[in-house]
């Protein structure tokens, strides 16, 4: 009986559950898409691990890695080795006319490989090249060949030697095995690099020793080899990665991305809860009389609850399945895009992947979101038939009675996010910030509507009518405005973050900021560079050293444990003059006469717990560099001006070997000429035009920003769904009001105006709150997270508002037009 009744009720009311269904589909699709993408990329990382890392094990350092006894022992037992080194180098074309001024230059990431490279996978070329080039040859990435405007067979100069371009390198197996590259790669052999004669005295190059285990080794032998490599690397302070664990850096990055996206999904889930709650409120309003009749005819409460639970179970299951299929399809599309970036195939999730997990979660989510509805359903008694219970109006007390059930739903949400992100903190912060903002907006919207209602007689009939309806359904109207405001706020925040990251990266560059930097200059080279670099040239000595002591206490181990970033080597400099963009905020500048003094950048001082008077020791090439902090500086780290965390007084470095760093501001032709001269005169030095770096970094940020925008799409869909359905439901619910207005002589234009104005007011109010939320969030992020000084508005916000307004006006106009077709004679008929 229960099943049959549920089926009959559902058949006649399924359209009333459309909003619940659609909300669940969007939320479950987002869930399935993230699971699909992360699962597929993780699988890819794990199955392709050996290729991506470049071997079964990879040992890395910023200095050349020598073979130890432990590694020699592995070699004796069948292990194969390959070496890989990467360093920035300038490549220059060799003009056929022999005229140096017509040569082109480009910054490259020289990749020097030797031994049995590649241990796994293979290099991909545009032509027919196989293996690594010989000592006379070089392979260039397509971007480099395009920038230099050359093709295979052309000749280029790297350092002191000329090379023939063998082929165009289109793919590398171990593309994810090294560090982040600032320039496209150029492949050379070890002999070729020696011919070039580039001397990298500082540790600016990255080195990797790649190990391939013997195919005949047992699992036990593989494990023992990994243990031996790890112990050996630890002893020599080298970094290791093992294929059995996958590319850890990438997996950690993926895990972080997954957590981040799941945290963003909270917004969608909260909106879905609101949608479901509102939808079920309307369902309850339209079916409460039916339920009261069921009860009057002897149906138990348990049976009534079961009937509706069955209906929701069906909706949840259908939505879960539809959402999983949609999510998998979306994941397939995104992975297809990803393939073009990584140039490797990524398996899209199968249609049934995650079907059970996502469907079960969707059903549970649906039922938990409906707890408040079930509580109200439970309270419907036969006596309500006598009291005309059909009113849909909720009193504040009734809403409060629902609070515990909403709290259970939010607690469930917190649990799901905790489970997905494995972080109670992320779950708590994301759920509480969304819910907190929601509550604040609900209270503010409710209070505003209340205040407007008090003074409504000051307004005309159209505005008064809107205020009356909002006041009459204050909790629903405030929920709708809050949901929309939060959804829009999140979307606007994302657009603003993107605009501010990109704008600050490009826009904060001062006009006088240098646009070319030169690294790895020997002190003896400086007079020559100064001669051809022009007036804007400036240079500083650099000593690379590690922070080892603070106020007489050794801190290297503590830093490695608590803040590994501070345990790396830092570029130290000494100078007596200030440079543009610096400002002393505490203490006094040491000048030329300072004795063992150091000026520390503000953020570094905070992080390293340094204050005026702190005694610090840096260690470099066997020497202890001791100094007292006598000033704290503020620098413009994003202005494009060079800055140093630590600037010592000129007496500290003594005779320590050092390299030099220089910069200048030049016109584009001057840069080209400077690069050519530098490549010819000082092939060991590396010139970095900043426009290249900005372009590379901007590309990375754009990619990240696009990912964030993609994650916000479900929230946008739910927000639009909410607006459209709220307006449609509100208009439908007021069908009788429309008839009464028409019977009293209101024209269709008059009715259309009321609903259009109501839509515009609702969306503008939500949009204004959303913009305020976004501005607050992004200003806070700029100040405390990114440390950006400039604020950039995103015009997309206003375009987004126009789109939402258009959708809202179109949906309300459509509903009003269809309702206004009903002649007012129906007011007689229904009696």
């Amino acid at each position: 009986m229960i099943g049959a009744t549920a089926r009959r009720l559902f058949a006649r009311n399924w359209t009333r559950l459309a909003l619940t269904f659609a909300s669940l589909v969007v939320a479950s699709a987002a869930f399935a898409a993230i699971l699909g993408i992360v699962g597929s990329v993780t699988d890819f990382f794990l199955t392709e691990s050996k290729t991506l890392i470049g071997g079964d094990a990879s040992i890395r350092s910023n200095a050349p890695i020598s073979h130890s006894a432990a590694l020699d022992d592995l070699k004796m037992h069948g292990a194969t080795f390959a070496e890989r080194m990467e360093a920035l180098a300038t490549i220059q074309t060799v003009p056929e006319n022999g005229e140096p001024s017509s040569a082109r230059t480009a910054l490259a990431s020289a990749k020097i490989v030797s031994g049995a490279y590649p241990l796994y996978g293979s290099l991909g070329f545009e032509g027919n090249a196989i293996g690594i080039p010989n000592a006379e040859e070089i392979d260039l990435a397509p971007a480099l060949a395009a920038r230099l405007d050359i093709s295979p067979g052309s000749r280029v100069r790297v350092g002191n030697a000329e090379f023939s371009v063998r082929d165009i390198l289109v793919s590398e197996p171990d593309v994810f095995g090294g560090d982040f590259r600032l320039a496209p790669p150029a492949l050379l052999s070890e002999d070729g690099w020696e011919r070039a004669g580039i001397d990298k005295r500082a540790s600016r190059a990255s080195y990797a020793l790649l190990v391939r285990y013997s195919d005949t080794w047992t699992e036990e032998e593989v494990r023992a080899a990994s243990v031996a490599i790890e112990a050996d690397a630890d002893a020599r302070n080298l970094r290791t990665t093992f294929a059995t664990e996958g590319p850890r850096r990438l997996l950690r990055g993926l895990e972080t991305a997954e957590r981040f996206f799941f945290a963003i999904i909270v917004l969608s889930l909260v909106l879905a809860i609101v949608n479901i709650r509102i939808n079920l409120l309307y369902l309850l309003a339209s079916l409460s009389r039916t339920v009261a009749i069921f009860r009057a005819l002897g149906m138990t409460r348990r049976s009534v609850m079961l009937i509706f639970a069955l209906m929701l179970l069906f909706v949840g299951t259908a939505a879960g399945i539809a959402g999983t299929l949609l999510g998998n399809a979306a994941a397939g599309g995104m992975l297809g895009l990803g393939e073009t970036y990584i140039e490797r195939p990524l398996n899209a999730p199968s249609p049934i992947a995650h079907l059970i997990l996502v469907s079960a979660t969707t059903i549970l989510f649906c039922l938990v979101s409906a707890l408040g509805f079930f509580a109200k359903l439970f309270a419907i008694a036969p006596k309500h038939l006598l009291g005309g219970y059909a009113s849909t109006r909720e009193s504040i007390r009734e809403s409060l009675r629902e609070t515990p059930y909403v709290a259970v739903a939010l607690f469930f949400l917190f649990g799901v996010v905790w489970l997905l992100t494995e972080s109670a903190m992320i779950a708590a912060v994301s759920v509480s910030s969304v819910v907190g903002a929601f509550i604040v907006v609900v209270l503010a919207a409710g209070a505003t509507v209340g205040a407007l209602s008090k003074h409504r007689f000051r307004f005309g009939i159209i505005f008064r009518s809107i205020v009356n309806v909002m006041h009459f359904r204050r909790d629903v109207a405030a929920s709708a405005i809050a949901s929309l405001a939060i959804a829009l706020g999140a979307l606007f925040s994302i657009a603003l973050i993107e605009a501010n990251v990109l704008g600050n990266l490009a826009g904060e560059f001062r006009e006088d900021a240098p646009n070319i930097y030169v690294l790895d200059l020997g002190t003896e080279d400086l007079p020559r560079v100064r001669a051809f670099a022009g007036e804007s040239w400036n240079d500083f000595p650099i000593v690379r050293a590690r922070f080892i002591e603070r106020d007489g206490v050794s801190i290297q181990e503590q830093l490695e444990r608590e803040d590994p970033e501070l345990s790396r080597e830092f570029n130290l400099t000494d100078r007596s003059e200030f440079i543009a963009g610096e400002r002393i905020i505490a203490g006094r500048w040491h000048g030329a006469d300072g004795k063992r003094e150091v000026s520390v950048e503000r953020d570094f001082a905070e992080r390293a717990k340094l204050a005026l008077g702190s005694r610090i020791v840096f260690f470099s090439q066997g020497a202890r560099l001791e100094a007292t902090v006598t000033s704290i500086r503020e620098v413009e780290s994003t202005s494009g001006l060079p800055f140093f965390f630590l600037v010592f007084s000129p007496d500290v470095f003594g005779d320590l070997p050092r390299t030099n760093f220089g910069y200048a501001r030049m016109s584009e032709p001057e840069i080209a000429e400077f690069e050519r001269t530098l490549a010819r005169e000082l092939p060991g030095a590396t010139a970095i035009p900043t426009t290249d770096i900005v372009r590379t970094v901007t590309a990375v940020f754009t990619l990240v920003a696009e990912g964030i925008v993609a994650a916000a799409i479900p929230a946008l869909l739910l927000g639009i769904l909410l607006v459209a359905s709220m307006l449609a439901l509100a208009a439908r619910e007021r069908a009788n009001d429309i008839l009464v207005f028409t019977a009293l002589g209101a024209s269709r234009q008059f009715l259309g105006k009321i609903f259009r104005y109501e839509t515009v007011i609702t969306i503008l109010a939500a949009g204004a709150i959303g913009i305020m939320i976004a501005l607050g969030a992004v200003l806070a992020l700029n100040a405390w997270f990114f440390d950006f000084r400039g604020f950039y508005m995103a015009p997309e916000i206003f375009a987004g508002m126009l789109v939402i307004l258009a959708i809202g006006i179109a949906s309300s106009s459509f509903v009003v037009r269809s309702l206004a077709r009903t002649p007012p004679r129906e007011l007689f008929r229904k009696q």
Binding site: V469, R473, F741, T742, G745, S747, P824, L827, R829, Q831
Partner: protein, 220 residues
């Protein structure tokens, strides 16, 4: 004056054509109080809807104050409903989100006329000055119908049509509402067309018309 000449109206129900009005002809003078009676489904409400400009006749002539409603545009009909005829419904038909005062102000607001003073006066006439700020859901059935009558008074039309105005009220309250309606009509010298099943109520009118078989005839 209201003149109906050979008014016809039919509806399609599925595949069946139901002829509700088969040539209704009558004249109602200004200030006259006419009751229309008839069995359920006889077409009383359809006739009332046609007179009130809420329904269009298929054939015949509907002249109200010299205006032919059949040839009126939608905008003209809306204006007609607002200025020429007021309706008191059986189910009151008050806007639930509007207070009693605002419900009475509504027809005046729609035509952008001063409304509050006239609405207050109308509510005073029906004895509801203490319920001005109450929402319809907070009023009893009798009070709600009195608000509906106040709305018709405030609307200031020469004609009031009432469709079973006591149908949802108990006998005592119904009698009070009818007394109020008739006294108001008499004071303002308005034309009243009343649809009712209640014989006693019908007898309070100047003339009783019975609708049967789609035609109107004088009741005995």
């Amino acid at each position: 004056m209201i003149t109906l000449t050979d008014v016809q109206k039919s509806y399609r129900q599925g595949e069946t054509l139901v002829e509700v009005l088969r040539g209704v002809t009558t004249t109602i003078d200004s200030g006259e109080r006419v009751a229309i009676v008839g069995a359920s489904g006889s077409g009383k409400s359809t006739l009332l809807a046609i007179i009130a400009g809420m329904e269009t006749a298929d054939a015949g002539e509907v002249l109200i104050g010299g205006r032919d409603l059949r040839s009126a545009s939608e905008a003209d009909l809306a204006r007609f409903r607002n200025t020429e005829i007021a309706v008191v419904f059986q189910s009151f038909e008050l806007v639930p989100s509007f207070s009693a005062l605002e419900n009475v102000m509504l027809p005046l607001d729609i035509r952008s006329e001063e409304s509050e003073t006239r609405a207050r006066a109308a509510l005073e006439r029906v004895g509801l000055t203490h319920r001005l700020t109450h929402l319809p859901g907070e009023l009893s059935g009798g009070e709600a119908q009195r608000v509906a009558i106040a709305r018709a008074i405030a609307q200031g039309t020469p004609i009031i049509v009432a469709d079973e105005p006591t149908g949802n009220l108990d006998a005592k309250t119904g009698a009070d509402v009818i007394d109020l309606l008739f006294s108001t009509i008499a004071e303002d010298k308005k034309t009243l067309i009343l649809v009712t099943h209640d014989e006693r109520l019908a007898r309070r009118s100047d003339r009783i018309l019975e609708l049967a078989d789609g035609k109107l005839r004088a009741a005995l």
